[in-house]
């Protein structure tokens, strides 16, 4: 699709907006529909769109395989680290009260934010890896 000028220009314009919408879906998941899985898919869709319209190697120039592999592992680690943090500060594993001991209820949005970003990172990078390895 390299000779389709309209598609190329539209992809360049849409790319940052799709990314921001993905981050919004992840971060706003505790107030509105959404969450890590959906937002991760939206972010992956931005990169895969770029890879389809330009080229898979062109997409891998902005997101190399090494980076996507590392971020994939980092997502799971963020989730587990959030649980380990609450465990180490004397609460149960994944108990969000650990994030604000004075007011246990308000720790939940913080814990959710961290964990949803972990889920979103892993999902987005696995989807991009799927695109890279199956059709790239």
């Amino acid at each position: 699709m390299k000779d389709q000028h309209i598609l190329r220009v539209a992809t360049k314009i849409m790319f940052p907006f799709i990314l921001v919408f993905g981050l919004y879906v992840i971060f706003h998941g505790d107030f509105s529909p959404g969450g890590g899985f959906q937002g991760g898919c939206v972010i992956a869709a931005a990169f895969i769109l770029y890879g389809l319209v330009y080229d898979a190697p062109a997409m891998r120039r902005i997101l190399p395989r090494g980076v996507s592999d590392t971020l994939m592992c980092l997502g799971v680690l963020v989730y587990v680290a959030a649980g380990a943090w609450s465990l180490l500060s004397g609460y149960r594993f994944l108990d969000w009260a650990a994030l604000s001991p004075a007011d246990p209820g308000s720790g939940e949005p913080w814990g959710m934010g961290v964990v949803e970003y972990g889920v979103g990172l892993t999902v987005a990078m696995v989807m991009i890896t799927l695109f890279n390895e199956v059709s790239g």
């Binding site: 529909p33 969450g35 389809l52 799971v76 004397g90 108990d95 209820g105 390895e133």
Partner: protein
């Protein structure tokens, strides 16, 4: 017969038509586009049932990413289906049997939106709808005491689906993430070509 039932009937009729069309279509590219339309209609059905989270997932995964991946596969294998149209009798039998079992199973389902159904009347789901879920006090003695003294969380996040997924069933979600991670690991180990 309210308006959402009418909308449901219309959407489900369109779903059946698109499903049959996706199977009958010989051109795989057209088939992929019709599958994307199928997912989008499914998202409409979910949002008509007020389950917005599932609708968003269906739109993002079914209509978005899986369509893109199927298109990427078509780029590799070409868009012509193998010309083989004989009816596969064991497959037809299996599909009919499973469909009959599912239809038989729906007879036991509670009515849509029934407040007495197990999913709506259990203690946990009532608590999450009212945002009033007990949290057990931990060994360190944080937020102990009877219900009126802060043993309950009164300020769960507003989206109860997220509250259930990431707080009440946080272990579950963690291992779901690990499952997705393992799938990505398998892709890297089995499909990555060592050329460069």
């Amino acid at each position: 017969m309210t308006d959402y039932v009418l909308l449901d009937v219309l959407l489900l009729a369109l779903l059946t038509i698109t499903a049959v069309a996706a199977v009958a279509m010989r051109n795989l590219f057209a088939s992929t586009v019709i599958l994307s339309i199928y997912s989008f209609l499914m998202a409409c059905v979910w949002s008509n049932m007020d389950s917005q989270d599932v609708a968003l997932t269906e739109a993002a995964v079914g209509a978005g990413v899986s369509t893109i991946l199927l298109l990427g596969t078509i780029l590799l294998v070409g868009s012509r289906e193998k010309p083989e149209r004989a009816v596969h009798w064991p497959a037809l039998l299996a599909v009919t049997a499973v469909g009959a079992a599912l239809l038989y199973g729906t007879a036991d389902m509670p009515r849509f939106g029934d407040p007495q159904s197990p999913a709506n009347s259990s203690r946990v789901s009532k608590g999450y709808i009212l945002q009033d879920v007990p949290k057990v006090a931990d060994a360190a003695g944080h937020h102990t005491g009877p219900r009126s003294e802060g043993n309950y969380f009164h300020d769960h996040v507003p989206n109860m689906v997220t509250a259930v997924i990431v707080s009440y069933r946080a272990y579950d979600t963690m291992f779901e993430t690990v499952v997705i991670f393992i799938a990505g690991l398998g892709l890297i180990l089995f499909l990555r070509r060592r050329t460069s």
